[in-house]
Every structure is written in C-alpha cells, then in structure tokens.
C-alpha cells in the first residue's frame, strides 16, 4: 500500500478545519491529516513529534497566540524542521505579504477557496510536493486567486 502523505493543518477556524477534512475525502492521493488550533500548538506538536514529522504543513496566517509568519520563521530557523514544506493557507492574498512569506521560505500560497474547489487545489499542491522537494519560483508560489 502506498504511504499516506502526512498533512499537518494549523488553523484556528473550526469551519475551515472541517472544510479541509471534507475536501481531503475527495482527494485521490492518500493523505493523513493532523490539525492544530494555533501557532503555539503547532510548534509544540512539531517539537514533540520529532520522529514523526509531517510531509507538509498548511499554515493559516491569522491565528491567535502565534501567527502564521512567526511560525514560519521558527520552523525555517530550526534545522530539524526547516526541510518541511509549508503551504500558506489564508483567506486574504496581498502581494507584499506574499513576497515576505516567499522570502521567509514558504513553498506555496493557497488562498482559501470555496469548498467545492478545495480538493482540486490540495491535490495539485500535494502532487507537486511529492514530485520534488525544491521550492518553486516566485511566479509559481501563488497557487490560486479567488475571483468572483
């Protein structure tokens, strides 16, 4: 059996965590999901599971206690964790913020879409990450833009 792709989702929003779970059911790639409710718990989780680190972290930006960017910086400065690809997962999308996050070492930026579109985006990102561990170019950094 194919090894399950371990996804860690850090998002304080209960609904969004639920939508993510629903979407994963429709993703053809086999995945395994762990969720944490804020940045503090994310770092705590990573430190306690050094032997069982996730294959990717979906990171919300706007979280209590420790926001996404802070977590990103901590992870990328920790030599044990820095190899984990990080996908920014946020409602908003601003180019200057995206620039900053790309500079800080994030792999992809996924703007939270309607739940019907979410499985497709997750599948695309997971596939890309499975194929190569290298970071994409800045142009390929942003996966989607939500347009009405």
């Amino acid at each position: 059996m194919e090894k399950q792709f371990h996804i860690l989702l850090a998002d304080d929003d209960m609904d969004d965590r639920m939508f993510f779970k629903m979407a994963l059911k429709k993703v053809s790639v086999p995945t395994d999901l762990t969720t944490v409710e804020d940045g503090e718990r994310l770092i705590q989780f990573l430190n306690q599971n050094q032997n069982n680190l996730p294959d990717v972290i979906f990171l919300d930006l706007n979280m209590p206690r420790k926001n996404g960017n802070e977590c990103l910086l901590i992870i990328k400065q920790d030599k044990n964790l820095s190899h984990i690809p990080i996908v920014i997962y946020s409602t908003s999308l601003h180019d200057d913020v995206a620039d900053e996050l790309y500079k800080n070492g994030a792999h992809y930026y996924l703007q939270k879409p309607n739940v019907v579109d979410l499985p497709g985006f997750i599948e695309r990102v997971v596939t890309l990450l499975k194929n190569t561990a290298e970071r994409p170019s800045r142009e390929a950094f942003i996966v989607n833009r939500v347009v009405v």
């Binding site: 609904d15 969004d16 939508f19 629903m22 409602t91 908003s92 939270k112 309607n114 739940v115 019907v116 939500v146 009405v148």
Partner: protein
C-alpha cells in the same frame, strides 16, 4: 576816486581796462626806481666830487651856485629811505632804518630853516668838507643849502614817513611830493629863462640847478612809486581819462617850457621884441595844444564808441539773460509745483496706507516719522507719543530677534517678508510681516509692518481642519477596507456551506427548499460582488500615484481581450483607433475601461447589436467647452459611446454616485459602484468625467485627462 571806481563797475566797459591798469601801474612802479636810482648815483658822485675836488655834477655851469654836500647827503638818505620802504622783502629793521634816515633829514633841514629865519648860523651845511667850502666861499655866494632845498627835503621826508603810515595817508604823501616837484620846477624854469628874481627876491641863496633837477627826478619817482593812491590814480587807471591825461600832462609841461625857451633864445639874440616873443609863444602854444586836444579827442571818441558798442552789446546780453532767467524761473516754479503735488501724493499714500510705516535712526534708536496705522498697530495714543516713547524692548517678544534683524539689515541693506511675533503696547501679541530698507548714508531704516495675525490664524485653523478631514477620511477608508475584507471570510464560509448543501443534501430538500437554496447562492454571490467592488472603490484612493506613460490603444485592446467571451456571446462590436498616449496609473485606467465596457455589455439593447466606439483627441481646456476644465491646460479628451438602452438625461449626474442604480436587480445585476469607481479614478488623475444618456439610444461618456503631469 571811489565814485569813479563804482562807475567803472556799473558801466562794465572799464572792466577790460582794469587789467591794463595794473600792468601800467606796475610799469610806473618799476620806472620810479630808476628815477630814484639816478638821483642816488648823482648825489653819491657829488659827494665823491667834493672829496677829490672836482666839480662836474655839483656845479655844471660855473657861473651858477653849486650843490651843497649836505644837500647831496640828504638826497642819499632820502633815496636809501625810499628803497628801504619800497623793498619787496620788507622787514621791521628796514622800516626802522628808513624812518630813522627820514627823521635825520627832517631834523637837519629844520635846523637849517631855523637858522635861516633867525639868522643864527649853525653852520650845519658846513659840517662836511668845511675847508673846501671855505675856499669856495670867496666866490659871489656862500656854499650853503638853499632855504627852498631845506623846505623840499622837509616835504619829501615827511611824504616818505606818511607813505609808510598806511594807505590812507598816501594821498597826503603824494600831495607833498607834488609840492616839492613844483618848487623845484620853479627854479628850473627860472634857470632856463634866466630870471634874476629867483635868486634875489625869492631866496637869499637859490637852489642849484643839479639840486632842482634831482628834486624833479626824485619827487617824480616818489609819485610814480605810488600810482594808485591820491591824485596819481587819475593818471594811472588806464581808463580814457588817464590815457588823455598822460598825454596832456607831458604836453602841458613840455610845450610852454620848450616853446618859451625857444622864444626866449630869440629875444636874447634880439631877433624880435619881447612883445612879439610873447605873442609867438602864445600862438604856438595854442596851436600845439589844439593839435593835442584834437588828437586826444579822437582817442576819447574811439574809446567812447567802443564803450558804447560794448554797452549796447551788454544790454542785449542782459536782456537775453533776463529772458533766460525768467524762463528758468518759470520752469523752476513748475517743477516746484510738481514736486509739491508729488510730495502731497506721497503724503497721502503714506498716511492712507493700510500698513504701518515708520523710519528710525539706527544709531540713536529714535523714531523720525510714523503714520497713523503704525501708531494704532503698536497701541500708542498719537504720533508724538509714538516718536517719544517707542521702545523696541516692549514690542519684540524676543528682543534677540531685533538684534538679528539689525545684523541682517546691516549686511544686506534690507529685510523682506520677514514674519515674526511682536507685541502691542498693552502686551497683546500679533504676527508681523516686516519689510525694512536701510539707507547706509545716514543709518536711517524705513520700516513697513503688516499685521498678518488674521491671515496666520486663518491658515492655522484651515490647516487644522485639513488635518482633521484627512484623519476622518483615513478612518473612513480603513473602515471601508477592513469591513469589506473582514466580511469576505464569513461570506466565503456561507458560500461554502451552500455549496456543500447543494452537493450533498439537495436531493433531500423539497422543491421549495431547493429554490430557497438557489436564491441563497445568488444572494451570497451578490454580496461577494458588493464587497469586491467596495474593496476596489476604497483601494482606488489609497494607492500611491505612480504615473506611467500608457498607450491607450494597447490598454483598451487588453481589456477587450478579458471580455472576449461576453463580447462573442453578445455579438458586440467595439471600435477604437488612434487613442492618446498619456500618463496614467495603469491598473486604475484598466479598471475604468473595464467598468465602462462591462456596463455596455450589461445594458446592451436587446433588439440590436451592441456597438461601442472609443475615440480621443488632444485639446486645451478652453476649446473643450466643459465646466471645471482649466483653460490653459491640454487635455486628452476620450469619448466612449455605446448604443445600449441608455438612461434619461436627468440621471447624467446621479449615475456616478455610489450605490446608485437605475435598473432593478432582477433585470440587471449590479452593485451601483462601478461608475463611482470610474469617477474616482478620473478624479485621481485630476480629470473630469461626464455622462449623457438617452433612453433607448445609448450613453456617451466624456473623459478629460490633463496631459500635463501633476505631482
């Protein structure tokens, strides 16, 4: 004499003669020295003759009386005294010596006279060469000084002493000389005409011929030495009278003397009787005098004619001069009058001016003048109060400011537009704008002070209002932005839940439930649209103005491509060509064109094919006939026109208002923000947008964007 001088000045014709006058007089003074020198030499020679025993000058004719050595000595004294007095380098010593010599001569002659009158012989004239004189006295007469010789010496020495007593006494001095001259002349004529009475009656001992000649010479010399004083002046002025007199004097002296002598010679030789001799003398004298009178009359006439010509010329010149003077006076009066009125104008300006003006002396810090405004501005009672009591210390909020002002003033000569706080006399502070000009010559500063407190207050309150407005605007914008942004998240969730419901639970719902679910989706979409437009609208203002040169042709082409699907669906035609290249914010202008095309597509007329035309032209504001445009600025005028359903022209203004919608939501979906965004974008570019709609015909938008770059 004085009268004559005055007359000379009035006539003016004598003026050129004054120069020749002094030249002539100087000549006379020089010649006088020769006369006196001659007498001096002869006298010294006579003394020499006595010492060696020859008689040449002392007795030229053996039958006549000789010159006494004392007489010769007196001549020497008088002559030396003369030279001492007239010496150019006069000194006290010379004057004293001359006076002494004169007094000696005077005393000698007085003693002689006394001895003659009293018949007591003091033998004063025998002191010198006594032996020789005794030897000689065997002849018919004793060798003594003649009484008239003594008198003449008294006259001459007195004259010399008077000469030395100053200008006023020189007249008397000259008269005494003349008297001596006449006395000597009598003896000369006596000798010439061999008149015995001179020897026997007039004096016991006659004056020797050498003595008489010497007197003539020396007194002439004395007279000539002093040509400008006394009666001599009449002969020496160089005026017509003097010129005539000069000739006539010689004629008057020489004619009778020479003619008389010739006639006398004839009588002595018994050629004719004494009666005929006298007749001849008179006739010839008359003849010669007539000739000279005729001659001098000619000279006088000539001089007078010249004078008259000069006078008339002078009169003409005088008249011209008077005319010129009158003209100049008139001009001066006019200038004075003009000056007066300009002075008055200046006064009026000074007093009626709206600014405070005063001048002050920097050295003494004193106020010289001030106008009423100045008095009032600084809070004084009157001009005098200001001028007497003005103290800089009570008017400068910071007295160091005054020092700085003075330093700047001395450096640059002026202060312009300097604004500083000043105080009135009662302590209230006002904002003063200063203009000061320094006159370096007299250190006087002219100051103009304007109270600009109200201006400054107005400006400050305006600035405060602007700041308030800016902060309120900023708050509004950020509220607008944040609220729109934060609304997105729950909306996205609602849409997601609806999507999940539709995907997974729809079949369980009744038909009505399904309808409600659809309506919910539409409402959520509409809300999404509203939020997006609001975000765009608020962002339109917040974005920094980065203007770049944009080719509108390219921009419109790109927007059309974005709408390709909708355009094909509606079978619409969009025409554009030769659009301007202008400085605009690219993404905003793209939004503008996009909104307009989107509107046209939305409001296309159902019965006809949609046609949109976009054109542009470059024109200055004054040619565009649209209010709010600046006449001298060049605009890119973009005309956007469609043939859609249009709208009533009464809504031409309202279409640009936010949330303004002209059609029902069911028929035409929209937020009512699109055109408001368009207007905001155009205004961001300092431009103007107008709409003119016509029901069922279409709508035309006119956009004017200034070509000149504004920062």
């Amino acid at each position: 004499m004085t009268g004559k001088k005055n007359g000379m000045q009035i006539n003016g014709s004598g003026a050129p003669d004054i120069a020749s006058n002094t030249v002539f007089q100087n000549k006379l003074i020089r010649s006088s020295k020769w006369y006196v020198t001659a007498v001096l030499i002869v006298s010294i020679f006579i003394l020499f003759e006595y010492s060696v025993g020859i008689f040449f000058f002392s007795r030229p004719i053996p039958s006549l009386v000789p010159t006494n050595p004392l007489t010769a000595l007196n001549f020497v004294f008088v002559a030396v005294a003369f030279f001492l007095f007239t010496s150019k380098q006069s000194s006290k010593l010379k004057l004293a010596a001359g006076t002494f010599l004169c007094i000696v001569v005077l005393i000698i002659c007085l003693i002689k006279l006394v001895s003659l009158i009293t018949d007591i012989n003091f033998h004063i004239d025998s002191i010198l060469f006594r032996k020789k004189l005794v030897d000689e006295s065997r002849s018919f007469m004793p060798n003594q000084m003649a009484s008239f010789t003594a008198v003449n010496f008294i006259l001459l020495s007195t004259s010399l002493l008077l000469y030395n007593q100053g200008q006023k006494k020189r007249g008397i001095s000259s008269s005494l000389n003349l008297l001596a001259w006449f006395t000597a002349m009598v003896f000369i004529i006596g000798y010439a005409y061999r008149v015995d009475e001179f020897h026997r009656v007039l004096s016991k001992i006659p004056m020797s011929i050498t003595t008489a000649s010497s007197f003539i010479l020396i007194s002439t010399g004395f007279l000539l030495a002093n040509p400008q004083t006394g009666f001599m002046n009449r002969f020496t002025t160089g005026l017509a009278g003097s010129a005539t007199a000069n000739i006539l004097v010689r004629v008057a002296v020489l004619t009778p003397f020479v003619i008389g002598f010739i006639c006398m010679l004839g009588e002595w030789e018994h050629l004719y009787s004494s009666g005929l001799g006298t007749a001849l003398l008179v006739t010839v004298t008359i003849g010669i005098l007539l000739i000279f009178i005729y001659y001098t009359a000619g000279i006088l006439n000539k001089k007078d004619a010249l004078r008259q010509a000069a006078e008339s010329e002078l009169r003409v010149l005088n008249e011209n001069l008077e005319k010129i003077v009158a003209h100049r006076t008139e001009e001066l009066e006019k200038i004075n009058k003009d000056l007066g009125s300009s002075e008055q104008r200046y006064r009026d300006l000074y007093e009626n001016s709206l600014v405070a003006i005063f001048s002050s002396d920097l050295k003494s810090s004193k106020i010289l003048t001030v106008n009423e405004v100045g008095v009032e501005l600084f809070g004084y009672k009157s001009k005098t109060d200001f001028m007497l009591n003005y103290d800089p210390a009570s008017h400068f909020v910071d007295i160091n400011e005054r020092e700085k002002n003075i330093i700047m003033l001395k450096e640059k000569g002026e202060i312009r537009n300097h604004v500083q706080k000043m105080k009135k006399l009662n302590g209230s502070v006002f904002w003063a704008k200063l203009f000061v000009k320094l006159n370096y010559d007299n250190n006087i500063a002219e100051s103009v002070i304007v109270d600009i407190s109200s201006q400054i207050e107005a400006k400050e309150s305006l600035l405060l209002k602007v700041k308030e407005l800016e902060s309120v605007n900023k708050e509004l914008e950020s509220f607008n932005y944040i609220s729109s942004h934060d609304l997105q998240e729950p909306l996205r969730k609602i849409k997601s839940f609806v999507s999940v419901l539709q995907a997974e639970e729809e079949k369980k719902l009744s038909q009505e439930g399904q309808y409600y679910l659809n309506r919910m989706t539409e409402t959520a979409n509409r809300m999404q649209m509203l939020i997006d437009d609001l975000l765009t609208y608020s962002r339109t203002k917040t974005v920094a103005h980065i203007n770049e040169k944009i080719d509108l042709n390219k921009l419109v082409d790109e927007v059309i491509r974005d709408f390709n699907g909708a355009i094909q669906e509606k079978n619409a035609v969009i025409k554009f060509e030769n659009l301007c290249v202008i400085n605009v914010i690219q993404f905003q202008f793209r939004q503008l064109v996009s909104n307009l095309i989107s509107n046209s597509l939305k409001f296309a007329h159902p019965q006809r094919r949609l046609e949109v035309t976009i054109s542009s032209e470059l024109k200055p504001g004054k040619e565009l006939n649209t209010p709010k445009l600046i006449a001298w600025i060049e605009y890119c005028h973009i005309t956007y026109k469609d043939n859609g359903i249009g709208f009533d022209s009464q809504y031409n203004e309202r279409v640009f208002e936010i949330f303004e919608r002209l059609h029902s939501q069911e028929k035409y979906q929209g937020t009512g923000i699109g055109l408001a965004i368009c207007k905001r974008i155009v205004e961001n570019h300092k431009g103007v947008i107008t709409a003119s709609g016509e029901i069922n015909k279409g709508v035309q938008f006119d956009i004017y964007i200034p070509v000149t770059h504004f920062s």
